[in-house]
Amino acid sequence: MSRPNPESATTPAKPRVRISFLGVAGELLLTAGVLVLLFIGWQNFFNSWVLNGQQNGAAAQLGKQWLEQSGPATGGSPSPSGAAEGGASVGPRADIPVESQPANRQTIAVMYVPRFGIDWKRTIREGTGLDVLNSSQAGIGHYADTGMPGAVGNFAVAAHDTGYGSSFLHMQNLRLGDKIYVQTKDGFYTYAFRNYQYVQPNEVAVLDPVPKQQGVQASDRLLTMTTCNPPYHTVERLISYAVLESFSKTPPAAIASEVGQ
């Protein structure tokens, strides 16, 4: 070796350490164990935590942008009037705007669920592929052949319960009547939670215009959310249904402090 080594000069008779097969094998096994633990930690904590922040931030930015575009009168600040809920700004049902079906991966809406946390928000994109559900810019995917927000029928979305932002981790905390707000570039749709269903993973009938009533003509405007059940496992699906209550152009009072932040 050309590198000077002062230690070797002072300790000349040090025997070479031999690398034993068992020693290397043991170290490899220990390494494998650490890697598995790291993977579990990444999957359940790091991944959820980091992506949760990124998805929240992306949704907040989008909500703010839509709010600023929608009304020159509001000027980016939420309307102070409480008329949003059940007041004069709620038009007849025929006046509820419904967007046309978007292209795959196109951004549809921002969802706010105060029961999941007052600062919880997520972007909804078209399609339920992993490119949407695992995205740091989205997190919630819209089933491609189901209705749009505000439409008569079933606006159905899916998200992870654990991992990749853990969007629907607290789904089982929803109570009857809990508000679920869906913001599009048109305004705010307010849905009220109605009920749960626990189904098998292949139960696509929950996406029907009238869930689990194939071929029946829809008259309600539903929001259906699907996620894995139980948390951290995938044996079942937890389905939440909510019914449209109102539409308003300005942010509803309950989330006015969050929109545009």
Binding site: R3, V17, I19, G23, V24, E27, L28, L35, L38, F39, W42, Q43, F46, N47, T128, L130, L133, N134, G141, Y143, A158, A159, H160, D161, G163, F168, V199, P201, N202, E203, V204, V206, L207, T226, T227, C228, T234, R237, I239
Partner: protein, 53 residues
């Protein structure tokens, strides 16, 4: 194996320690950014919270 790595590294002990920590950070970054997402995609194909897939 790791003892051999330690002997191969140049410099005094604190420099070796810094190099080892830098190596660890690099390995962790590669794992978190690319390897774990790849493994997760293979292991949990049916874990998207969707019905009918």
């Amino acid at each position: 194996m790791y003892a051999a790595l330690w002997r191969v590294l140049p410099g005094p002990w604190w420099l070796r320690l810094i190099i080892v920590l830098a190596l660890l950070a690099a390995v962790l970054f590669v794992l978190f950014e690319w390897v774990f997402p790849l493994i997760d995609g293979v292991l949990n194909k049916n874990q998207q919270g969707t019905v009918g897939t």
